[in-house]
Amino acid sequence: MSGDAVVVHRRGPVAVITLNQPGSGPDAHAAELAGALADACARLADDDARAVVLTGTGERFATGAVGGAAAAVASLRVPTIAWINGDCLDGGLEVALACDIRVAAPGARLGLRSVLEGRLPADGGTQRLLRLVGRAHALRLLLTGEVIDAAEGLRIGLVQSVGGPEAADELAERVAAAAPVASAYVKEAVLRGADLALEQGLRLEADLSILLHTTADRAKGLASFADGTRPEYEGR
């Protein structure tokens, strides 16, 4: 039942996707989880959530070959935060790497072990890891299959902070308070710009900035700044 493997609920403007991978083996029901996660992302594409938090259950974020799900997570326009509550290994880490920001619990474990088994991470793991932590750390983690803890993840830039669920919630609320079109454009400028020469990236940023002049939320944000109130953005 895919409905059991992934549960989506709303907490105000934040959509929380809970991965509920049953079983104890490293690959336990990973394929089922992948399908359900892709379905959940497809449904969220039409949702009005302002931020998405992805998390796991118990001691596990996700482990094993969650093939294909990372691309679905990466395609979301809305900001995505992985709250890495526990083991985040192999395909599970590839899903977390597809999120915009990662927050890890102090006891979380992170690693890509597939090379040890004669396989290559194939859900974006090699490429997203390289871009996130740089060549030296990416090669070390991929070639050794080493599993690291949250503190080491923070040190090398794999996660952006270490903390409890309240840290992830606070971050999600902050992110969800921003103007949705502005957030989507920031995300687009950063992620698309990474593949461009700097001069072309600056052009993309300038064009998105000027296109944003047409939004009602921009006027609302400026008016709220002027009178010191908190803007209620509409996403248009």
Binding site: D100, V186, E199, L202, E205, L222
Partner: protein, 240 residues
């Protein structure tokens, strides 16, 4: 009254240019007039053969620059005109392209376009009272002075997205940990520390500094083989 004074000061100290953002009443908020005056000053920094490096500082006690002057927003005539104006005078491209070392000395508020200007410089030194942040998305805006491009390149995409999407403010010690600044010093020692850094850099010949900037700037945009070729050509041009 303050608008009668220049919004950007340009002073030569030996072979260094000291450029000061000078609207201290409004924490050096970046205005249309400051844009035009900075264009003139940065052109002079680039073109003056007696200037070998630049120090960028903010006037007043409260900060380096608290961001764009939002009271001027909404006065832009139209999107097409705004785009035309943006590229008629590509101020950020000018700052980025100065073939001389540039150091930003950051104190107090360093927000939005203030942080972006600092990121366009080669090196950054922070006072221990510095406060950084990118509030744009929370105001319904996106950064427009290179923040979405420079911050991922300086801090990595994970940290950059976290800061840009959350608008979270952070202090000098975090800035040091993220790699945004290379040094944190007491407020009273900021200008001396930034000057000393630039002074150390300026011991190298100007041509070597220009070549090093080009190797890193242009090299980052190329596949490794092409960047190595660029490096070889730049090295050869120095020994010629």
């Amino acid at each position: 009254m303050s608008e009668q004074r220049p919004t950007v000061l340009f002073e030569k100290r030996d072979d260094m240019a000291v450029v000061t953002l000078n609207r201290p009443d409004v924490v050096n908020a970046f205005s249309v007039r400051m844009r035009d005056e900075l264009w003139e000053v940065l052109s002079a920094v680039r073109d003056d053969p007696d200037v070998r490096g630049m120090l960028l500082v903010g006037a007043g006690e409260r900060g380096f620059c608290a961001g764009a002057d939002l009271t001027e927003f909404g006065t832009a005539p139209s999107q097409t005109i705004a785009r035309q104006v943006r590229w008629e005078r590509d101020l950020w491209g000018l700052l980025l392209g100065i073939p001389k070392p540039t150091v930003a000395a950051l104190h107090g508020y360093c927000l939005g376009s203030g942080l972006e200007m600092a990121a366009l410089c080669d090196m950054r030194v922070a006072a221990d009272d510095a406060v950084f942040g990118m509030p744009e998305a929370g105001l319904g805006l996106v950064p427009a002075a290179g923040g979405t491009q420079l911050l991922p390149r300086l801090l990595g995409p994970g940290r950059a997205l976290e800061l840009l999407l959350s608008g979270r403010r952070f202090g000098a010690e975090d800035a040091l940990a993220y790699g945004l600044v290379s040094e944190v010093v007491p407020r009273s020692e900021l200008v001396a520390a930034a000057t000393a850094l630039l002074r150390r850099v300026l011991r190298a010949p100007a041509a070597a500094l220009a070549a090093a900037k080009r190797a890193l700037g242009d090299g980052a945009d190329r596949p490794l083989a092409a960047a190595l070729d660029l490096e070889r050509r730049l090295a050869a041009s120095l020994s010629a």
